[in-house]
Homo-oligomer: 531 residues x 2
Amino acid sequence: MVLPVRHRRPVGRVRGAEALVGSLVGAGVDVCFMNPGTSEMHFVQALDDVPAMRGVLTLFEGVATGAADAHARITGRPAAVLLHLGPGLGNGMANLHNARRAGTPLLCVVGAHATDHVRHDAPLESDITALARTVSGWVHTCGDVRDVADDAVRAVAAATERGGQVATLVLPADVSWSDGGVPAPPLPAAAPFPPAASRVTDAAKAVREPGAVILLGGPALTARAMDAAGRVAAATGARLLVETFPRRWDTGAGRPRVDKLAYFAEQALEQLDGASSLVLAGARSPVSFFGYPGVPGDLVPDGATVVGLADAATDAAAALEALAAEVAPDAVAEPAPRDAPEPAPGPLDVRSLCAAVAATLPEDAIVVDESLTAAAVLAPALQTAAPHTQLALTGGAIGQGPPAAVGAAVAAPDRPVVAVQADGSALYTLQALWTQAREQLDVTTVLINNAAYAILRVELARTGAGEAAHSGRAGRMLTLTDPTPDFVALATGYGVPARRVETTEDLLDALRWAQREPGPHLIEAIVPAVG
Amino acid sequence: MVLPVRHRRPVGRVRGAEALVGSLVGAGVDVCFMNPGTSEMHFVQALDDVPAMRGVLTLFEGVATGAADAHARITGRPAAVLLHLGPGLGNGMANLHNARRAGTPLLCVVGAHATDHVRHDAPLESDITALARTVSGWVHTCGDVRDVADDAVRAVAAATERGGQVATLVLPADVSWSDGGVPAPPLPAAAPFPPAASRVTDAAKAVREPGAVILLGGPALTARAMDAAGRVAAATGARLLVETFPRRWDTGAGRPRVDKLAYFAEQALEQLDGASSLVLAGARSPVSFFGYPGVPGDLVPDGATVVGLADAATDAAAALEALAAEVAPDAVAEPAPRDAPEPAPGPLDVRSLCAAVAATLPEDAIVVDESLTAAAVLAPALQTAAPHTQLALTGGAIGQGPPAAVGAAVAAPDRPVVAVQADGSALYTLQALWTQAREQLDVTTVLINNAAYAILRVELARTGAGEAAHSGRAGRMLTLTDPTPDFVALATGYGVPARRVETTEDLLDALRWAQREPGPHLIEAIVPAVG
C-alpha cells in the first residue's frame, strides 16, 4: 500500500501524528476542520508532511464540528475534526449533538495531555472520555504510538457503523510527537443492513390500505429512495411525509412532491390525523419536539399501525425499491413541477423572502436551512424550485447553519450553497463567516433579521407562560434589540461582503449579486418578527 | 420569612419556576446570566413575578457561564446561569471548566425536557447529568415541583462547598410549569476550614530558613491575605510568588510586590531554582501547563520541601495571618510603589501597550487578563499601577475574557473594567460585546490584534514540531490572516463603539476616550506578532 506520506524518516519510523494523518488520507478522510492547541501541534505540523490532507481552520470548535457534520452529509463519507482537550470538545458538543441526531459518520480527534502529564492534573485536564461518550458511539484513547494509525482507521470504520455515528479518538500529545508510527491500511466501511423481507411485506400490506402515510427520513431522502417512495405513492395513494429536520434531502422540481411534518405538535397531529398506518422509512416514530402540558409527546394517531420498514442503519433506498417492486411495479412517481413564482414586491416578509430564495435558487444548490420560524414557509416554496439538496438542524442545537454552510461548500466546491439563516441562531457560531472568507467558499447567507428569538416568543405564548412576550423583563430575554446586531458590520468584520435589504426588489438584486461574484456573501434581510 | 415574590396565587401554590426564582433571590442569588430556550420559558416568565432577580441575556451560553464565573469571583457569592438542555450546557462547558479550576461558587440551572417527555428521546434529549458531572461538584435533577425551591437553595449552598464549586440543578420543564411550588428559606453557606495549627508551625519553620518561597493562589490573593504574606516576606526574606492564573488578585501600588510564576515551564523552573521550600497558600503545587518531551511536569525543584499551609477550601487569609503572627509579629509589608511610567511613543508593541494600560488604569479597576503572550509583560507593568483587581484565565479554556468582563461589570457597577484581550481568544466568545452594549457596562476592551494564535506559534517552535510556523500549510493553521478580522467592524456590529490604533499616542487617546464616555468601548490595537 502506498500512503500519501512524504517520508523524511525510514518507513515505520514516522512520527505518530504523521502516521495518523497519512493513514486517515488512505482511509478517505482528506479534510480536517480544526481548532488546534498546543497538544495538537504535531498533528498540525503533519499537514506539511501529508499534502493530501486539507486542514481547514475555524475560529471556534462549534464551527469545526458543524462543518464536519455537513461535509459528511454531502459526501457520504466520514469527515474529521481536530479539537483541543476537554474544553475544545465542549465547545464542539452542540454540533456533535446535531451530528449524532443526523447519524453522521464523523471522526472526532481530541488532542490530550501527554500520557505522563495527566497525573499532574494541569489546568486543562478534564474527563474527555466522559464528555465524548455523551455524543459518540465509539470512544478510544490511544495508548501507544505504534497503535495510533491502526486506532485511526478503526475509528474511521467505527464512524460508519449503525448508519453513521460520531467516533472519538483521544490522542495524547506524546503519541503524536513520538517516533515509531506505523501507517495502517484502510478498513472497510460498515455496510447498511439489507431490508428485511418481512418488513417489506408488512409495509406492502399497510400501503395497500387507504390512509397509509410513509414517513421518510434519514437515509431515505436520497434522489433514489425518494423516487421509489414516489412510485409507491403514485400506485397506492399512500401519502408521503418527510421528517421535520432531514439530515440530507434531495428535493425540488422533478422529484416527488412531499410535505414536511410540521414542527409544532398540534399541526403535526393534524397532518397525521386519520392515518391508518405509519410506514417508517429511515425515520423514527414521530414525537413532539418539546413536551407541553396537555399535548401528547407521541404523535402516532390513535389506531394507526406503525411499520418500521427501514431504520437509519438499513439500506432505506433498497427497502423502498423492494416495496415499490411489490406494490408499484409499473408506476411512475409524479414529479413536483418547476414553478417558482416571482415574489410579491414591496417590503419584505417571510413569504416574499422565501419566494425570492426559491425563484433565484441555482441548479443543484445545497440549501442549509436554519430558518426556524420561516421553515414552514420555506419548505413548500422550495418544493417547486430548481432541484437541490437540503440540510436541516437535526438535533435542535442552534448555531448549526453557518458552520454547515462551510462544510457543504468544502465538500462540493462545484455546488452553490444558499444558507437561509435565523438571526439568533446565527449569533451562536457567526465566526463561520471567517472560514467562508478564508476558503473563498461559494456561500450565500440570507440572514433573516427579525431582531428576536422569534420561535421562543411563539413558545412563550404556547406554554401559557406569559401574556407579556413582547415587553417587560421576561420579553426582554427573547428580543435581540437594544441594540439590534448589525449583521452587515459583523460579516464585514469577518471578511464577507454584505448588504442589507428591506424590500423584495432589493433582495432579488442582492441574490443576483451574490451569485454573480465568487466567494461568500451575506444578505441581511430585515423582516418583521412573527409571534 | 418574606420572599420577594409577587404572589398571584395563594402562598404555596406558586408555579415551580416562581418558587425557584424567588428562593434564589432569598438565598442571595439575584443575577442570572441566561440563554433560555423553550424548556426554560417559565423561568423566564418568573422574571416578571420576581423583580428582584435580574436576568442578563447573552447571545451564547459560553458568555453566560464566563460572566457568572467572574461575577462570583468579584462578589464572593454564588452566581447563576440558566442554560437550555444538553447542547446549551455543552456550549457553556469551556467557561464552566474555567470556573471549576477557579473554585468559583456557581449555580448552573439546566432546563430539561418535561419528565414525561424524556422517554420519547426527542431531538434535544441527551445525557445532561453525565455532561454536568465533568465540571460540577454537585449535580441533581429535580423530580417534583414541591421540592424545587428546596433543591435550589441546597444547590446554592453546595456551590459554596470545598472553597467553591459548580453546582448543577437539572430542571425539567414540568417542574417549572406546575403549580405547587413551596418557597424555601436560604441555607447557610459552607464556611472555609480554619487553618491547621500544625501546618502553620511547619510553614513557620520553612520560612525561617533561607530560600523559602511562598506560592500564593486561590483565596490567598485578597488584599488581607496579601498583606499578611507581605509581612512574612518582610520579616523572613521569603520570596512571594503568585500562581500563573489567579482567580482574583488584589494587586497594584500600595500592595505587596509579588512576581507571577511564569507560564512556560523552563522559566518557572528558573524562578523556583534553589528554593529550599515551597509554602503553598491557596495555591496548588506548581506543574507545567502542558507536557513537553524532556521537560519535567512537576515544577517543584529537587530537594525543596513542600508545605501545604492552606488549600483552596481553607481560610487562607487566616492561615497567612497566623503565620505572620508567629514569624513577623511586628513586620510591615513593603508596598509596591506607584510608578507607572509614560509608555514609549511611536508604533505600538506589547511593551508600550501594557505600559499605556498601566499608566491610564483607573483607581480600583478590575482588569480582566486574557492577554496570553502579553501577560508576562502586563503583570509587571500593572504591579505599580493604581490598585486594582485582576481576573485570569484559570483553566486555560480560551474565550473567557469578554464574558468575564460582562460578569465583573455587572457585579461591580461602580468599578471600571479594563479587559486586555488576545485576538484569537476573543473570537471564541465575542458575542459578549453585545451584552456589554445592552447592559451599558463600563468595560474598556484593549484588543491586541497580532493576527495570529501567537502563543501557538511559540508552542509549535517549542515542541520542535516545525521550522515553518510562519508559513506553509501548518503555519496557516496558526495565523489569523487572509482575512485578518476587523475588530472595529465586529464591535460595531454588536453595538460597541470602537477605534483602531497603531501608535502609543493614539492608544492613550483612545483609552481616555473610553474612560470619559459611559458604556463599553473596544480599542483594537495593532501590534506585531511575537514568536
